[in-house]
Structure formats: C-alpha cells, structure tokens
Amino acid sequence: MLRFTATRLVRAAITIVMVVTFAFVVLRLSGDPAQIIMGADAPPEAVDAFRTAWGLDEPLWVQYISYFGAIFSGDLGRSMRDGREAIVLVLERIPATLALTVPALVIKLALGIPAGILAALYRNSALDRAVMMFAVAGFTIPSFVLGLLLVLLFAVQLGWLPSGGQESWRHAILPVITLGIGGAAALARFTRSAMLEVLGQPYIRTASAKGVAWRRVVANHALPNAAIPTVTIIGFMFGSLIAGAVVVESVFSWPGVGRLLVTAVANRDLAVVQCILLLVAMTMITANLVVDLLYGVLDPRLRGGARKAEA
C-alpha cells in the first residue's frame, strides 16, 4: 500500500509540474509578459522596470525556476483590471460556486447511481429504456440550453423562480437543477455500463452456483466491483466542483469562479486566468489522487506489495 501511495503521489507531482510548465510556456509564447501584464499603453520605462523587477531579462531557465518559486509561494500576480491580487479575487468567488456545485453533486449521486444500477439489473425493461432516454437527453442538451429553457418556463412563463442573480436560496434552485440533471444523466449511463460489465463476469456465475440469492449476489458481489470504475467519474465530478459551473454561472448571472473566468478571458486578464487554471488543475489532480487511493481501498489487486503465492 505504501509503494502504491508513493507512486500515485509522484505521478500527481509530475502532472502538477507539467501544468505549471504549460502555464509558463503559454504565457511566454503569447507575447511579452511585461507588456501584457502592464497593459498595452503602459509607458516603456515602466515596462522595462517591470521586466527588471520580475527578472524577465534573465535567461529563460532562470525565469522558469523563479516562476515556480513565485507560484509555490502563492504569488500569482495581480489582476490588470483592478490591481488586486489574482489569488484573492479568485478565492472570494469560490463560496458562491460551491453553493451551486455541492448541491448539484448531491443530486447527481442520488439520482444517477440508483438509476444506473436499476437500469442494468432490469436490462431492456421499460425502466431501462426510460433511464437511457434520460441519459441521452442529459448528454445531448447543452447546459446553456437547458438553463435557458428552465428560465423560460419557471421564471418567464410561470414566474415561480427568479431568472438570475444571487440574492436568496431561491435563486440557486434553477442553476442547481441545470447542473444536477446533466451530471446525473452521465453518471446513470456510466453506472449502468459498469454494472452490466460486472454482471457478465464469471465470479457472478460462481456466486449463483454456490447458492447465493440474486439480491445478495447483486449487493455483495456485483456492486463492490462496479463501484471501482464508477469512482473515476465521481472523482472527476469532485474535481469539477470549482470550475464545473462556467457556463451555468453565466446563464444565471451567478457571481462565481466561472463567471470571473469568462470575464477575465474576455478582457485578457491573464493573471486571473492563470490563477484559475492552476487552481482548477490542482483541484482536479487532488481529486484524481484521491480516486487513485480509493481504488487501492476498493480493489485489492492494486494494493500491490502482496507477493504471489510461493511454492
């Protein structure tokens, strides 16, 4: 288990380095960072001063090293819009985003997993077809269309709920539903196929052959195995808690990280974009790491360390 954990940690670290390198390369490729960060109409002396101050006149590898240093000390630059620290700007927005994504995640899990399991168990039944239709619809209707349709129905036509903004919990209902439905559909589809795969395995037949009742075969033999691949997609959903609502936040004018990102991209506010990119990547890498470790718990084959039987 120790070696397994260590291997996963190293892999995560390598990916983090790659993400940071990516940000560095893209930032350098996209033009003169001093010019970009200072703005196009900054006086040349100021740009030069900035360059010296930030070490941009040093050789590239020195810059690369110091870039790492800066990032790991939390210095992610300042927003060119209002000059505040990018990291602070981003952190401020996180609670608002979580207020949408966490309840949505609950909906996804509570709806998607049981639906997928039941569809697999009652394969080709009316229930299965209904779940699959729901899954296909959830996949093919983009969130902005779904969101706008919900607005049209519940806000414009019926007038039950507000169409946007963040004043009360009622404002969160439509965006949470929009996010939850799509994810639940994807999860249902995935759970169903994982379950079908497991139900076709020889050990399921073995369990039946030793007289285990079907309900118990499902609960005790099929579900623990089907959980293993399903954890991946759930992990991805956790990893998307911060950045999974970009489009929906825009649809509902919800002041979260996603909307900040969209505005920053539109304004080419690079420090903010870079900050969000790194933050999201870290979250996702952490989630992947947790998934990997969970694999180790769920799947004894991955724990390693155990030796093959000796003669």
Binding site: Y203, P300, K308, A309
Partner: protein, 326 residues
C-alpha cells in the same frame, strides 16, 4: 439398480432460436464419476449450467432435470438456491476470474458455509481454514485472508474446490477444471478431485475436451457432438472399443505415447455451426462410414453392450453380434 441421483431427460437448450442442446438423456448414480467429453461448442458445459438454472435469461430450456426425483427445471428460486452449492456444487475453467476479486478467499468460502450449513463467525473461519488445508493450500491459516489475485492459478482452483466442498455437496460438476492450468498443476488438481471423491463418496461430473483427463479420473464417459450424446460407455469399454465413428475418430486423433509413431487418423472438416445443422446425423458430413440413411434422420440410441450405448445407424447391429459371440 437404485434410483439415479440426477437424471436428465430430453434436455433442449436454444439461444436466440439456435439450438445448443438437442435432446440430452443422462443419468448419474450416487458417488459415480462421469466424464463428459466433446469439442468446443458441443454443449457439454451448457448441459450442466442449464440443469442448475445458471444460463442467462435469453436461453430457452425444455425437458426435465431431476435431482433425487425432484424436478429442477422451473423450480422456484429458493429451491434452486438450496440445491446449488448445497447438493450440487460447481467449479469452472478459469479459476482466477471465477473468484470475486474484491473479497478475501476465506470470506468467499465462509459465505457458502453460512448459506448451506448455517455456520458463521469463528466456527466458519475455522471450517474454512480446515477446507483450505484439506485441498492443499500451504499455510492455510494465513492464506485464508488472501485475495484471489495473490493465489496462483492452481491455488485458485483449489480454493474453488474448497468453496464447493463447503456445502458438503453430493455431487460436484467440474467444468474444464484444469484446462487453464499447466500439466503438473493439472495432475495435482485431478489427484485432489480423485482423493476427495473417494473420501466423501461424492458424485463427480468432469467436463473436458481432453479424453486423457476424463479417462484418468472417471468411471463412465459420455461423448457429446453438436448438442447430443453420441456415445456413452464405461471408460475401459470406450477406450478399447469405441462404437461411434466420432468417438473412434477422437481416439485415433490422440497421439500415442508409446509404440510406433503412426499417422494420426484426423477427422476431416469441422463441427457444424448451430445455424447449419444437418438434418440427419450431425456427424454424417465428416463420417467415413456414412450412408444415405445417415443424412435422412437423426439416429436414436442403440445399446451396444452393458451400460454402453451409441447413436449411430451403422455400428449398432455389427457390434451387437460381436457382443453375442463374446
């Protein structure tokens, strides 16, 4: 003759309208070892999966399967669950994937103990350990907590056997139990099955494509071809005087271990596909002794000698006269 432990009558199975079994009649006495031989797709595994109700839902099964006089086909699930693992246990070809990878080997054995013998807790653990020890797992006390992937192929098959023994069954169906294993490991497993059977007076059905394996461990053999039993005989009789041309062909195709090397008498062609089943004898197209009548109707079983029957139009009369002279 006492009533058989299991008797199959006119067992038919089809998948999506294509026949897999085309009328199987077979009896098994208590404590008897029966070998079921045939090439892939002949229905030898399907027979027993069907008998225990383990085929997927799309399979259509008709006929009769009686265990001690009790009909199993169409029996309620609760009845079948008591029979499976309790009276009839089954082990499979690929031991590594037949054990659940996320549960410890001991736990999987204890599950069967709880179901069929009502033993739980520490007693179950002790019994599981005893069973693992019995099937020859070294250091059973420690290995009881191992996972299947920590066992070798041979050890996994031993664990499967221990699990099968947990319900103290009257009969064990072993479906190609050694096919995935190496020769020396195969010898170990066959030896173990033989010893266990002797000790417990347990009936054994050994399904195999390998005549040698069956000959080695069984008293009686049934040879299957294209969903039917074409010949059934005591082992020595089959090896000394196979009646059906297919059985003759199979024996002739087996390279000898001693004596002069001879050209093998290979059976030409291949097994007919389920969708292109000949109208008459399924073996007729490959048969060196076929005649017109073979292609017209399906031959029925003809007694060839004591406990020896074959489904062939050609050989029956000749063998019978030979018998009378003998």
């Amino acid at each position: 003759m006492t009533a058989p432990l299991v008797s199959l009558r006119d067992l038919h199975v089809s998948f999506d309208g294509q026949p897999a079994l085309r009328g199987i009649d077979l009896d098994l006495a208590r404590g008897e070892a029966l070998g079921l031989v045939g090439e892939s797709g002949c229905g030898k595994s399907v027979t027993w999966l069907a008998a225990l109700g383990l085929l997927p839902g799309k399979a259509r099964v008709t006929g009769s399967v009686k265990l001690d006089g009790q009909e199993l086909l169409g029996a309620p699930p609760a009845t079948l669950e008591r029979v499976r693992g309790g009276r009839v246990a089954m082990i499979f070809q690929d031991p590594a994937s037949s054990l659940n990878p996320v549960h410890r080997v001991g736990t999987q054995i204890m599950e069967a103990l709880a179901l069929h013998r009502g033993i739980t807790g520490a007693a179950a653990r002790a019994e599981a350990r005893r069973l693992l020890d019995l099937v020859g797992i070294p250091d059973a006390a420690r290995r009881i907590d191992a996972y299947p992937h920590e066992f070798s192929g041979g050890q996994n098959q031993r664990a499967m056997i221990a699990m099968a023994l947990a319900g103290d069954p009257e009969m064990l169906v072993a479906d190609e139990p050694t096919t995935a294993l190496d020769v020396t490991i195969q010898a170990q497993i066959l030896e173990l099955l033989r010893a266990l059977r002797r000790e417990r007076n347990m009936a054994l059905v050994l399904i195999s494509h390998d005549l040698g394996v069956v000959a080695d461990s069984c008293e009686r053999v049934a040879v299957m071809y294209a969903g039917r039993i074409v010949e059934e005989a005591p082992v020595e009789r089959l090896f000394d005087g196979p009646a059906h041309p297919y059985a003759q062909g199979l024996l002739g195709a087996l390279p000898p271990l001693d004596g002069a090397r001879r050209r093998l008498s290979a059976i030409p062609g291949g097994v007919p596909e389920p969708w292109a089943m000949p109208k008459g004898c399924a073996f007729a197209p490959r048969c060196p002794a076929r005649m017109g009548a073979c292609e017209a109707e399906m031959p029925s079983d003809v007694p060839v000698g004591p406990a020896h029957r074959a489904a062939c139009l050609r050989v029956a009369p000749a063998r019978m006269t030979a018998m009378q002279h003998a």
